[in-house]
């Protein structure tokens, strides 16, 4: 069995310094107005008892990734380590991934999709993705998902003393997220779907409807192809009978 790798973001440690965003832009040669890491800030409470909830809008590396399922060109694939990789050179920019993603992460711009590419080369060399290695606040970790979950549990237990709703996000969602988040409050506060899902219709479409459609087309071709010689001979015969 392959090992699941993933990220862990402790949102309670983020200082919104944007180092990860810029480092990621460097790693992926993105121009200044394209980014794979966006941030969402949400205040709760009222002055002075206020909390600033921070989360990154970036690929969650779902185990059951609808973007991989829907991608018609194979630009989105699952690595052996279960991370979701994007090969922009195969991407047609159809934007299906952007529309199907329950987290609204991919962006279809400039005829391609923009989403975390999971620093494939670095990871395959055994290094950390660049957002993790650059995080100055230790808010990001990378490693075996099981290990990350363990450390997240510890951290959440500590946080619960101050934030009773503190929790891990991504343990179960979408078959388990490769981007685990430590939250101080309910996911909804962070603008995260509590129960994200890959619409069941996606599987029906890709696994049943499309193959059936193709089979019917095939059958029609076969039937007409096979009958053509007989039919046209019959027709010619009828004409000559006149």
């Amino acid at each position: 069995m392959t090992k699941q790798f993933g990220f862990l973001m402790d949102t309670s440690l983020c200082v919104e310094c944007q180092a990860c965003r810029v480092a990621c832009q460097m790693q992926n040669q993105l121009p200044h107005n394209r980014t794979l890491i966006r941030f969402r800030f949400q205040e709760t409470g009222s002055y002075p008892a206020v909390t600033n909830h921070i989360t990154r809008i970036t690929c969650m590396h779902c185990q059951l990734a609808p973007c991989v399922k829907i991608c018609p060109t194979g630009a989105l694939v699952k690595g052996e380590n279960t991370l979701t990789y994007l090969a922009p050179e195969r991407c047609s920019g159809c934007g299906y991934c952007a529309q199907i993603c329950p987290f609204k992460v991919p962006q279809a711009l400039d005829n391609r999709s923009y989403k975390c590419m999971a620093c494939r080369e670095l990871v395959e060399e055994g290094k950390e993705p660049v957002c993790v290695s650059t995080c100055i606040a230790n808010a990001l970790k990378f490693g075996e998902r099981a290990e990350l979950l363990k450390s997240a549990e510890k951290r959440v237990a500590a946080l619960q003393k101050t934030f009773p709703n503190a929790q891990i996000y991504g343990r179960e969602q979408m078959g388990g997220l490769g981007m685990l988040l430590i939250l101080r409050d309910d996911p909804a506060v962070y603008g995260l779907p509590v129960a994200p899902r890959a619409a069941g219709e996606l599987a029906f479409w890709k696994d049943s409807l499309q193959p059936t459609g193709f089979k019917l087309v095939g059958a029609a071709l076969l039937a007409t192809g096979a009958s053509y010689a007989i039919a046209s001979r019959n027709h010619r015969r009828e004409l000559s009978e006149e």
Binding site: E89, C94, Q99, E201, V217, S227, I230, H235
Partner: protein, 222 residues
Amino acid sequence: MYKGERMVLRFSRGQRVAHWALAVSFFVLLFSGLTLMIPSLAPLAKGGVARMIHRVFAVVFMLVPVYYALADRKGLQALITESFRYDRDDLLWLLRMPRYFFGRVKGMPPQGRLNAGEKIHHALIILTFITISLTGLVLWFGKGNLSQNEFLGMVMLHDIAMYIMVILTIGHLYFTFVYGALQGMVTGYVNEKYAALEHAKWLASIKAEKTADGKLPQSKSA
């Protein structure tokens, strides 16, 4: 083949232009669309070229009825009404359809300008045309603003309409070549003998017109 017979006008210029515009745009749409369905065609979709082509031809495709209405309003009306109006002969014709499929016209009930098969073909094309156009527009202009379910619903309807259209087109091509009907859609004229054989009621009706004003206005010598 029919030889030495007189020719009767079956398709007006407007009808023919509309038919071919629809046919060409349909095939371009089909192949540009398939790049998003068949992985081995995916490289063609790279960089958004296929999408651009798909959109340009979608506009052509959707403008065909508009053109038809402008060029031949009556023709369009007739097409729509005829496609959804079936008489006893039509039903009988459909029952005997397998005969016709295998190239036998004789013994089929007499038909109007369109035979019952053509009517069903047209009716389904009209329905799928509307479906595929509407879903296409929603996917195009709703990009980024659709929920997962709306998006998937649209994509699937778009797909289903496409399968139906492809199968209809296969059948259409089949009959065209079995019955050598291509010429009619190219020139507009069909052989009077062919008309007598396949569209007896229609031939009778235009002959009736002839007796009214003394000549056969829609015919010429082959």
